[in-house]
């Protein structure tokens, strides 16, 4: 169900169904494909259960397992929607929340950090930023580039979205701060660390590791962090929410990693609230609760022996 789980013949079939029968035909095919993954992809099931068992703590194993299938179908529909949007075959209706915020931010000389998560159809939602006249740079590892580039039409003429593969050194910081000061938008994944520095937060009622880089960069560049939340609300309908904005600014005398973790906690709370209202929009197929590492930990000094 994730990028790695699709293959070329599979996508070809979905495109064929989409072209010949429209969205409903592709959705029809999806129910069978999702069933296959639900029955046989143990890894995907395990990762999905990490989230579902925390979202639905009152449910037993069987209900959680059934809800896995519903989550797979929900993600599949959004992948199909993205495919349809990229091909230009279908027009989707977006309800945009926070248009005033975006207008205000687009009028500024500097850019802003856009924080996304494995929540809803963030790729399709990001296309709504085209109207504000700023370029968007996604900080993304090269192995994820191909799929994202395809889904966002990045290579196409006139595209306003591009990717920055992090080299892992201090040069990344300089490049990102320069982009922000030049007025561009730099987007980070806020809910999965991908080997970046993390802080321990409470997410869906349990301790989890969230990345801190986005807040650190925003504080250094003096720009706001805008949180993008996109949910599929019905057939061809999406709500894109840009109303959550914070401007990280360090308080003197307080441990900076503590403050970064506090901002990450605010984000975790917003995401928890989002998934409480829209439980089948969470596509974080990674156990952020189990795979957490916090080199310093809140309120602690850090060892220089490594991270």
């Amino acid at each position: 169900m994730s990028r790695q789980r699709g293959n070329k013949p599979g996508f070809w079939f979905f495109r064929l169904f989409l072209k010949t029968g429209g969205l409903w035909a592709a959705y029809g095919l999806l129910y069978g494909v999702a069933l296959h993954y639900w029955l046989f992809d143990r890894q995907a099931g395990k990762a999905a259960r990490a989230y579902l068992s925390r979202r639905f703590p009152e449910n037993g194993k069987l209900m959680i397992h059934l809800k896995c299938y519903r989550l797979f179908v929900s993600q599949g529909k959004q992948l199909i929607d993205r495919m349809a949007a990229t091909s230009g075959a279908v027009r989707f209706n977006f309800t945009l929340l926070g248009e005033d915020t975006l207008a205000d931010l687009s009028a500024r000389k500097s850019g802003f950090v856009l924080l996304t998560a494995h929540a809803g159809n963030w790729q399709i939602a990001m296309t709504t930023l085209g109207r504000i006249g700023k370029n968007v740079y996604l900080v993304m590892h090269p192995e994820h580039n191909t799929a994202v580039k395809q889904s966002l039409n990045i290579s196409s003429e006139g595209a306003f979205i591009d990717t920055i593969p992090p080299a892992g050194g201090p040069g990344d910081v300089l490049k990102i701060i320069k982009l922000l000061k030049d007025g561009h938008i730099v987007s980070f994944m806020g809910d999965r660390p991908y080997d970046a520095a993390t802080g321990e937060v409470t997410f869906m009622g349990d301790r989890a590791a969230f990345p801190l880089g986005a807040f650190s960069i925003a504080a250094a560049a003096g720009v706001p962090v805008v949180m993008l939340l996109a949910s599929r609300t019905g057939f061809k309908s999406y709500t894109v929410d840009f109303t959550h904005v914070m401007t990280p600014k360090y308080e003197k005398g307080r441990n900076k990693r503590d403050q970064l973790t506090q901002w990450a906690q605010t984000y975790a709370d917003i995401l928890t609230d989002f998934f409480t209202k829209a439980p089948y929009q969470c596509f974080l197929f990674y156990d952020v609760w189990r795979n957490r590492e916090d080199p310093g930990g809140p309120g602690e000094k850090r060892s220089v022996s490594g991270n």
Partner: protein, 92 residues
């Protein structure tokens, strides 16, 4: 107008700032070597969050804005404490 800091003074202030601002333990400014490697396993293992902090330290303490620096040059000046101190000395 204040006198220009010597390279030695810059190095000492930089060590102090790194230990304090990055909340480093296990090492004091006095213990930090002049040619200390800052990033990666060979050195004191600073990470990307620390790189952001160093950009801020340079801006706040010496008025150096690194935002316009190209990435390759950026990698070079972060190579070690000595190289960074020399860059500050040349550009402050």
């Amino acid at each position: 107008m204040a006198d220009k800091q010597s390279l030695e003074e810059i190095r000492e202030q930089l060590k102090q700032s790194l230990v304090e601002e990055l909340s480093l333990e296990d090492i004091t400014p006095e213990e930090m070597k002049d040619d200390e490697i800052l990033f990666g396993e060979e050195g004191i293992g600073l990470d990307s969050l620390d790189a952001v902090e160093i950009v801020l330290i340079l801006q706040q303490n010496w008025g150096i804005d690194l935002a316009d620096m190209d990435m390759e040059k950026g990698k070079e000046i972060f190579a070690s404490l000595d190289v960074l101190a020399q860059y500050i000395y040349d550009n402050a």
